[in-house]
């Protein structure tokens, strides 16, 4: 009875989180929302792993990150603090767009739901950001019963919430190293607050505590510890040049933010650039890259407690560091059940409190609305300019990446190309030898010899043509789009791949719609995508009876052209289908795993879409759409195209 009431209230409370967030934003003045703007914006859910069901954005260190995210004109980012089970449930239903989660849980969810990391969170130590974290194991300074990991057997340990997955893996790891893996005989209690953790240790209710490295030291440095407790003793202290703190465990990457599998790269890029443009610290001083807007209301100290972001770390390192195998997870379900029960009693009071806070905030915020609207307009304009700049930058990186991948594709195709080039070369060689022999032996039928020499030059032309195509494919140049016939591009690509397809006995069927309007594309990049897709298709056709690829083009909805590449190969398994467009995901022994990822971003840069499905009977199908641009432009483009 009371349980259901509590749950109801809790749901009500969750519902209010975004409202609290919005209200607080308004009152804290730097980012302002008119409620009508809020209504039009698309909602983006960001799941944040939290072991504290009461966590709110205001109290958390994610506040600044969300402030940055919510400066986006089209989207509103809504944080959801969830435990691991709830996260999994929501990811399973595709209800979360982004996830912020610890490194261990990330690996698990990456495998299960195909989420893809974008950035790594940074924590500040002595005002410098670090993207690695460690764990420290402490015991009371006068407790000499525990000096080694080995002494932890049958001891009681408290762990700071939020570090549970890594703590468990860490403990298991050294237990394993010390031959104590038989059963996990350490009692672990999960604590939410550092002071509480220290109190437990001080009052010897637990024998040892585990916390994120540096946290306890920071606490002592700032003299937040009230009862004059001496600094606990660190067990197995380790130091490395990568981190400024002592730590007991291996260093692992900090929490990543990851996108769900269905999120378009373009949105992910925008999120990343928003997060990366957070204020940076230099020489211990807060330098705001964006016109100092954050200096208005908040002191530098507050920023120090906020998370920053940097380019993503390599998370696969965990597999080697902790000799994990995939599917081996450190999480156990009991912890979470235990945790939530701990909080149920306080929930009611706090909800009432928050409801009051919300009410008062709403009243306050309605007063100087006009004033803030003008402010918000200015800052929005500024934001738009910045984003344009960032997008331009991203675009130039994108071109470079496309070029590098083209080079690597070319590398993979090298042996096929060598064969293709070898044919005309050996023909030339043989024709000429035949001529020489005839002249030497005096069978000088001049007409015959001239004819053979003509055939020789044809072969030289053929070789030159191969080289020319190859060079244009690997050429590095600024994207330049021309109006082109998609069917011509297909024929060009097929002549490029001819020998490879022939060697694998693959039958090509073309179902091309005639007289398609030209599309505005960068020909080389579209060729790159097609080469890539055809290469993949032909590789999936190994050991298939009657291998074939169908290429079709057609007009869809009068405003786009759809191109499909359909093979009758082995198809793509369901779990891989979610991940094939992720960078560095590959099922091949060779290859970078960048092909499809870059293909997708090329097509998206053309305002199109690239997606994969399995055929109902056999094989896979990759389709891409390219939008048609209005008729006036098309006419202009046509004349331009004819000049080529």
């Amino acid at each position: 009875m009371t349980m259901t009431r509590i749950k109801l209230l809790f749901i009500l409370f969750l519902f209010f989180i975004p409202l609290i967030h919005a209200a607080q934003n308004e009152s804290s003045s730097s980012r302002l929302y008119n409620s009508s703007i809020l209504m039009e914006k698309q909602r983006i859910s960001v799941g944040i792993l939290s072991y504290n069901p009461l966590e709110t954005l205001e109290g958390s260190r994610w506040k600044l990150s969300f402030k940055r995210l919510n400066s986006h004109p089209d989207y509103i980012f809504i944080p959801q603090f969830l435990d691991i089970e709830a996260l999994q449930k929501k990811l399973n239903k595709d209800e979360l767009d982004f996830v912020i989660i610890d490194a261990f849980s990330y690996l698990k969810l990456e495998e299960e739901y195909g989420i893809q990391h974008m950035l790594t969170r940074n924590e500040l130590y002595s005002k410098k950001p670090f993207s690695l974290e460690g764990l420290s194991l402490y015991t009371k300074s006068n407790n000499y019963n525990i000096v080694r990991f080995l002494d932890l057997k049958d001891k009681k340990i408290a762990v700071l919430a939020g570090n549970i997955p890594i703590s468990k893996t860490f403990l298991k790891q050294f237990l394993f190293k010390h031959g104590l893996i038989i059963d996990f005989n350490i009692n672990i209690e999960i604590i939410n607050e550092v002071n509480q953790l220290l109190n437990l240790l001080d009052s010897t209710k637990v024998d040892a505590i585990i916390a994120k490295s540096g946290v306890i030291e920071k606490k002592f440095k700032k003299q937040y510890v009230l009862n004059k407790m001496p600094l606990p003793r660190l067990i197995n202290p380790r130091q490395s040049w990568q981190a400024p703190f002592l730590h007991s465990s291996e260093l692992i990457p900090e929490w990543p933010i990851a996108k769900a599998w269905f999120i378009e790269n373009s949105l992910a890029n925008q999120v990343a650039s928003l997060l990366l443009s957070s204020p940076k610290l230099m020489d211990g001083q807060l330098i705001n890259v964006n016109h100092g807007e954050y200096n208005i209301n908040e002191s530098a100290d507050d920023f120090l407690e906020q998370y920053q972001w940097s380019i993503a770390q390599d998370y696969n390192i965990l597999y080697t560091l902790f000799s994990l195998t995939k599917n081996n997870q450190a999480l156990s379900q009991n912890d979470h059940a235990h945790l939530s029960s701990q909080f149920q009693t306080i929930v009611v009071y706090i909800i009432i409190f928050f409801l009051l806070v919300i009410l008062s905030l709403f009243l306050r915020s309605s007063r100087d609305l006009n004033n803030r609207l003008t402010l918000s307009k200015q800052s929005l304009e500024r934001e738009i300019n910045e984003r344009q700049l960032a997008q331009e930058q991203a675009l130039s990186h994108h071109d470079e990446l496309a070029h590098v991948t083209r080079l690597s594709t070319m590398g993979e195709m090298a042996s096929g190309l060598a064969h293709e080039l070898n044919q005309p070369l050996s023909a030339i060689h043989t024709y000429v030898q035949g001529c020489i022999r005839r002249i030497d032996t005096g069978q000088d039928n001049l007409e015959e010899i001239v004819n053979a020499l003509k055939l020789t030059t044809q072969q030289a032309d053929r070789a030159a043509g191969i080289i020319r195509r190859l060079r244009s494919f690997v050429r590095k140049e600024q994207t330049h789009k021309t109006y082109s016939d998609i069917n011509n591009i297909i024929h060009e690509v097929l002549s490029f791949l001819d020998s490879q397809l022939k060697n694998n006995n693959i039958k090509i069927r073309l179902q091309l719609q005639d007289k398609l309007a030209p599309v505005l594309v960068d020909i080389i990049q579209i060729e790159q995508v097609l080469v890539n897709l055809l290469k993949n298709a032909s590789e999936s056709l190994i050991n298939v009876n009657g291998p074939g690829i169908t290429i079709s083009t057609k007009l869809v909805r009068d405003d786009a052209i759809e191109l499909c590449i359909i093979d009758n190969g082995h198809g793509i398994s369901k779990d891989k289908l979610k991940r094939i467009f992720n960078p560095f995901f590959t099922t091949k022994n060779s290859g970078l795993g960048m092909g499809l990822s870059i293909s997708k971003s090329i097509i998206e840069a053309h305002d199109g879409k690239l997606y994969a499905t399995n055929n109902t009977i056999q094989g896979a199908r990759f389709c891409l759409t390219l939008p048609l641009i209005s008729q006036n432009n098309v006419l202009e483009g046509r004349s331009g195209n004819n000049n080529e």
Binding site: S415, H419, Q423, H429, T430
Partner: protein, 202 residues
């Protein structure tokens, strides 16, 4: 070298096919070209000579064609040409009885030498086959008793032992033996032994 020898060139690439033919014709050999192994197998009519074939071709590959030739008892020396000179493939082809394996672009002398050796091998084997055939004929003309005597003579047994083994008189053995030597057209026991060895080999 046999005037009737034909060099068959099988390659899917027209330029390679025509240029190879052009080169081979320069030493006065007759060339017939095919653009796939299927066509060759269909049109081959027990001509003498040798065959030059690309390993990788659409349809039946060179190695598959080699198997098919063994099945159909086509005994032409097979020279493989390939643009991908990979050792395992060459080993496989040679183990299955390919005559030679030449990389493209080929040294003309190397190819022509291989062709000439191939043709010679082909005509030699045809000659020896003809010889063997006549030996078979002679063996066929022997009576069972004469055959029994022949096998014992080639084993080096004296007449006395043969007579004892076959439970006949020495005189009878002598008669069988003389008739057998006459039918086999062998002037000495040594020649008879050589004949039987040649016949057994093939």
């Amino acid at each position: 070298m046999n005037e009737n020898s034909i060099v068959f060139v099988v390659d899917d690439d027209e330029a390679v096919r025509q240029s190879t033919a052009w080169l081979i014709e320069s030493i006065g050999l007759k060339v017939i070209t095919f653009n796939c192994a299927d066509d060759f197998l269909e049109n081959y009519n027990n001509e003498q000579g040798c065959i030059i074939m690309d390993v990788r071709m659409p349809g039946i590959s060179g190695l598959e064609a080699q198997e098919e030739m063994v099945k159909r008892e086509i005994d032409l020396p097979l020279i493989f040409i390939t643009g991908h000179g990979d050792v395992p493939m060459a080993v496989r082809a040679l183990k299955r009885g390919a005559f030679d394996f030449i990389e493209k672009p080929f040294n003309d002398q190397l190819l022509l030498d291989a062709i000439q050796r191939g043709i010679k091998h082909n005509s030699d084997s045809i000659e020896s086959m003809a010889k063997n055939e006549s030996i078979y004929k002679r063996i066929d003309s022997l009576t069972p008793r004469e055959r029994q005597v022949m096998s014992r003579v080639t084993e080096g047994k004296p007449n006395k032992v043969i007579a004892h083994e076959l439970s006949v008189s020495i005189k009878t053995v002598e008669v069988h033996r003389a008739r057998m030597m006459e039918k086999m057209e062998a002037s000495s026991v040594a020649e008879l032994v050589k004949m039987t060895i040649d016949a057994e080999k093939s």
